[in-house]
């Protein structure tokens, strides 16, 4: 790893101030846990992007599912979703009031509750499991989102971003071609600290050479064609929609809803959802964290009123992926706060 730390310093010496972005919460976790920021030269700014599905889920979707639960519709979902604050309450709060909400560790567990609506969340890594449930007739409220449309959005709105560390397990499903459409330097990266340091070096090389290629630096897992079966299952059961991202707004063709309207909870229960009002906490700066415009500790709520035990914003919820929750765990700055 020392070899690549030295190489990073060499390449960086020929670069101006350079901003690069990781777009996977798993990467944010490795970066903070192993202090990778500390080994980067001052002119290399590595920022966390919209890589945590819980964090980018629109407030409206949380509120809608809370409403369904309060109206007596049973819900199954992954644990992280329970604690995301809604306008009035989280799913966990609704559960305390008696709503029928079951946490599942695997999508397959949701088959045990065939009458419940599965609140599906995640990028391409997690979407095939929801597609599996749709195929078995489970009704779904989908907040599934796809890469790389938000990355394209960010490059177009923030020209300072020179390249991306691409999410290795999303690419395991999608394969490599999909990333070429961005036409900026990218390296598909694994999750161990030595893999990340090597990939950062390769990304800086591409940036130095002004080469908008996609390098697969995780070939032991990511095949060029991706996971063909998973992709076929997704395109059979889900269709692209314009989707709202917290902090980014609506991005065209960036989300997925069920093809079968009978299994789409947004359609089936549209009457129950038509009067749901959503309002984001104006003091919460999750949106800017997701866009990589500020670091978590620059938000006035961070580590003061907003903590993993009592999250005020979505980025403080997921212990593994939320930028704020990860910074809270690992950052010296948060300890000083």
């Amino acid at each position: 790893m020392n070899e690549f730390i030295r190489k990073i310093k060499d390449v960086a010496s020929s670069l101006p101030e350079t901003k690069i972005m990781e777009v996977c919460g798993g990467h944010t976790h490795t970066i903070m846990k192993y202090g990778i920021h500390d080994i980067l030269p001052d002119n290399i700014k590595l920022v966390a992007g919209p890589g945590c599905p819980v964090c980018v889920t629109a407030q409206k979707d949380i509120d809608n599912v809370v409403e369904l639960a309060r109206q007596g519709i049973g819900i199954t979902t992954y644990g992280d979703m329970l604690h995301v604050p809604g306008t009035e309450m989280s799913l966990d709060d609704a559960r305390s009031l008696g709503a029928d909400i079951k946490m599942v560790l695997s999508a397959e567990e949701a088959l045990r509750y065939p009458k419940h609506v599965f609140f599906g969340i995640g990028f391409e890594t997690t979407t095939p499991m929801t597609a599996f449930l749709l195929k078995r007739g489970i009704r779904v409220y989908s907040t599934h989102k796809v890469m790389p449309p938000p990355m394209k959005f960010l490059v177009e709105s923030d020209s300072a971003i020179r390249g991306f560390i691409d999410p290795g397990h999303v690419a395991t499903i999608t394969g490599i071609d999909i990333w070429n459409s961005l036409r900026v330097p990218q390296v598909i990266c694994g999750f161990k600290p030595d893999q990340m340091v090597r990939s950062i070096y390769k990304l800086l090389e591409l940036i130095r050479d002004d080469d908008p290629s996609v390098v697969n630096d995780y070939p032991e897992v990511v095949r060029p064609e991706g996971n063909v079966k998973a992709k076929a299952l997704m395109s059979e059961t889900l269709r692209p929609i314009d989707s709202e991202w917290r902090g980014l707004g609506v991005i065209s063709d960036s989300g997925l809803d069920p093809v079968d309207k009978e299994l789409d909870a947004k359609v089936v229960y549209s009457d129950l959802l038509k009067d749901v009002k959503s309002k984001e906490n104006p003091a919460c700066r999750c949106g800017e964290v997701i866009k990589g415009l500020i670091e978590p500790y620059e938000c006035p709520l961070f580590a003061t009123v907003c903590t993993p035990e009592k999250p005020q914003g979505a980025c403080m919820v997921s212990r593994n992926e939320g930028a704020c929750a990860i910074y809270y765990q690992f950052s010296e700055r948060s300890k000083g706060a």
Binding site: C24, G25, G26, K33, C52, P53, V54, Y78, G79, D80, L82, R95, S96, G98, D100, I101, K102, M103, L105, S106, A107, E108, E109, I121, G122, F123, T125, T126, P128, M129, F132, P167, H169, V170, T172, I173, G190, K192, Q195, E220, V221, R223, N227, K229, A230, L233, S318, R319, N320, E321
Partner: protein, 97 residues
């Protein structure tokens, strides 16, 4: 959410496999990949998403280093606590009814 863990398939029954994660055995759905007993696979929320070769499973992940093992155990405990809380509440609600 995109966390995926490598393990070795020790048994296959239709779409389900028993996977050994360095001593801990759990079932995983293998309908998204082509695989055989003895293969190393990467598992995400209960589903295998890719076959990986044994060497890279060991080298890349050192199957679980000590720090990651502790982290994973912590997560399991947290998830279990959440699930238990959920069940406790459900039983209270049922009693009320």
């Amino acid at each position: 959410m995109c966390l995926a863990i490598p393990g070795k398939i020790v048994e296959i029954d239709g779409e389900e496999a028993v996977v050994d994660y360095d001593g801990i055995r759990k079932s995983a759905n293998i309908s998204l990949i082509d695989c055989n007993v003895g293969d190393y696979i990467l598992v995400h929320v209960g589903f295998a998403i890719q076959v990986v070769d044994e060497e890279s499973a060991h080298r890349t992940y050192s199957l679980f280093d000590e720090a990651d093992r502790r982290l994973a155990e912590e997560e399991v405990v947290n998830d279990k606590q959440d699930a238990e809380k959920s069940e406790a509440r459900d039983s209270v609600v049922e009693k009320d009814e």
